[in-house]
Symmetry: C2
Subunit: 331 residues, 2 copies
């Protein structure tokens, strides 16, 4: 920058003013500076700028695992809107591990990030959560925090999604249900389970539902489904807490010689792209993943502006997508 100031015959202060929008520079001076900048193909050092302004144009994105297509979609939505706003996003895979989450939070804050998106904060104890919330860095969570700690949140109406699945399966005549729900105390999955169970009870006196816990991805669904099929408890329909789990079920079913949906109906949650190409195409609860990323970033950006710092909760609608993995009960 010193170079271009010299080349344009001004001081570095005027150069700075010319390059940024700040008013109060003669039009001709500004043009001279800009030309000099272009000629020397000047690239501003954003670190230096951040050091003085206190803002970094960097957002943190702490997710369980980017290999989960759900998160990939959220990440893309987040990145696109960050891009539009001139921000970069740093990607952090936490595996929901508290150690790793702490590391990232520290690291991000040391970089003066303008905000952080986390899919969950449950791995941290309450004191840490409280400290996080009051650190001054805008934070948005991708599940309903439900706690008295004032984080912003963006999430789908998980409970409603669970209800939708239940009502659908009950309407198809199923009475012996199973629900694969991933790890206990996993925010979103827990809410889906709650909605599902409530709706089943409300809809039918004689329905039974067996709830299994395990991993939250394909492998977990596979393991739980194997267990379920081995014990042959006569369930005719399964609601998987997410599509990855449902894919695991599909795999297990094929291996066990069970046909979906003839032998067992299956409903997932998320509506990831692959639901359309598996066989049978998966009936599932749609949630707006890309839009969640968008929403999270836009909240962060608003918060970072500094005006109003009130947390915001945004809940996105869900919708049953009927495909071919569920059918009327046939016994």
């Amino acid at each position: 920058m010193r170079d271009i100031a010299e080349a344009a015959g001004v001081t570095i202060a005027t150069a700075s003013r010319s390059l940024n929008g700040s008013y109060g520079v003669h039009r001709l001076t500004r043009e001279r500076v800009q030309q000099a900048a272009a000629r020397l193909n000047y690239r501003p050092n954003r670190l230096a700028r951040s050091l003085v302004t206190g803002r970094s144009q960097i957002l943190g994105l702490i997710l369980s695992d980017i290999r989960n297509p759900f998160f990939a979609e959220v990440a893309r939505g987040a990145e696109d809107t960050a891009y539009a706003a001139g921000c970069d996003v740093v990607l952090c895979n936490s595996d929901l591990d508290s150690e790793r989450q702490r590391h990232y939070i520290d690291s991000l804050m040391g970089k003066n990030v303008d905000g952080i998106i986390m899919n969950s904060v449950r791995a941290l104890d309450e004191a840490e959560q409280r400290r996080l919330a009051s650190s001054g860095v805008p934070i948005v969570l991708l599940n309903s925090s439900a706690k008295k700690i004032p984080f912003s949140t963006v999430c789908a109406d998980n409970e409603r999604g669970g209800r939708l699945a239940a009502e659908y399966l009950i309407a198809l005549g199923h009475r012996h249900l199973a629900h694969l729900s991933g790890p206990r105390h996993h925010g979103n999955l827990t809410q889906r389970a709650r909605g599902f169970l409530q709706a089943v009870r409300e809809a039918s006196k004689d329905a039974t539902v067996r709830v299994l816990h395990g991993g939250h991805s394909l492998a977990g669904g596979y393991v739980m489904a194997r267990k379920l099929f081995r014990e042959r408890p006569g369930v005719t329909a399964i609601f998987a807490g997410n599509d990855a789990l449902a894919f695991g079920v599909l795999k297990a079913a094929r291996e066990c010689g069970l046909r979906v949906p003839q032998d067992v109906s299956l409903v997932g949650f998320d509506n990831v792209e692959f639901t359309t190409i598996v066989d049978p195409p998966l009936t599932t609860i749609h949630q707006a993943k890309y839009e969640m990323g968008e929403a999270a970033v836009s909240i962060l950006l608003r918060l970072a502006k500094g005006k109003d710092r009130n947390p915001e909760d945004r809940v996105l609608g869900v919708e049953l997508i009927e495909r071919e993995s569920a059918m009327k009960v046939n016994r």
Copy 2:
């Protein structure tokens, strides 16, 4: 930092030395400083440090689209090794768009990143590529650049993978083949096509292969396959340039009432997780995706160390994974 220096009764310089590893601080002094730091829960400002050291502990990752499971896997490998080395990675989705790539390169360099991983640099013209290569920032590409521009590269042996697919299909008796190859001049896909075509020619005089170009993801494969099936050219086997394309083929086949592999055999490339859960499980060429991310970062880190700045080319092996989407030709 001033605060903890004061609290420990030393100058800020000694504080700095105590907190970093630099030798030459009395053990007791160091301990005092560290305790003070802990007590005031001090968090170093990494931007300030970067400003003076010139290194940022940030890596850039410019990919087409993180929603592609292949890239998600690479990203995870990259992020894990970056994490182990105390680096952050900023995620950039380029869609292979040159404008967006330029933006990210500028932005990353403005942040003094220690290195950049790009899946391809073909969208940039040669002058830009050359400028990039000589910018001083370590760069590694995820395809073989093949150009005289000295980028480091990490990629699978794509040509060999193509050959493997060809030899396999020919051995199964197929003579009327099709290859879905994505966009023209897409580095990796082009190499796979070359290997495939060469091996077909070498293996059989009377084999024909129809090559189609189009998108490089599920939707593209779907469109190409529809076209192919509509024209019914009697092909008995398809080699898709990647698994996403193959999934598109599967979808199109189901819609057209064609059975895989009875009516048409299918081989993919990548071996993403979903190959195991589609029906039929996809026979494909495995490439080490996670390891590519690892390798890319480790090269970057070595280059960033500053010692030897020679570019490095790492090519990872491939392997045919036989599942159920291909069988002996039956006519």
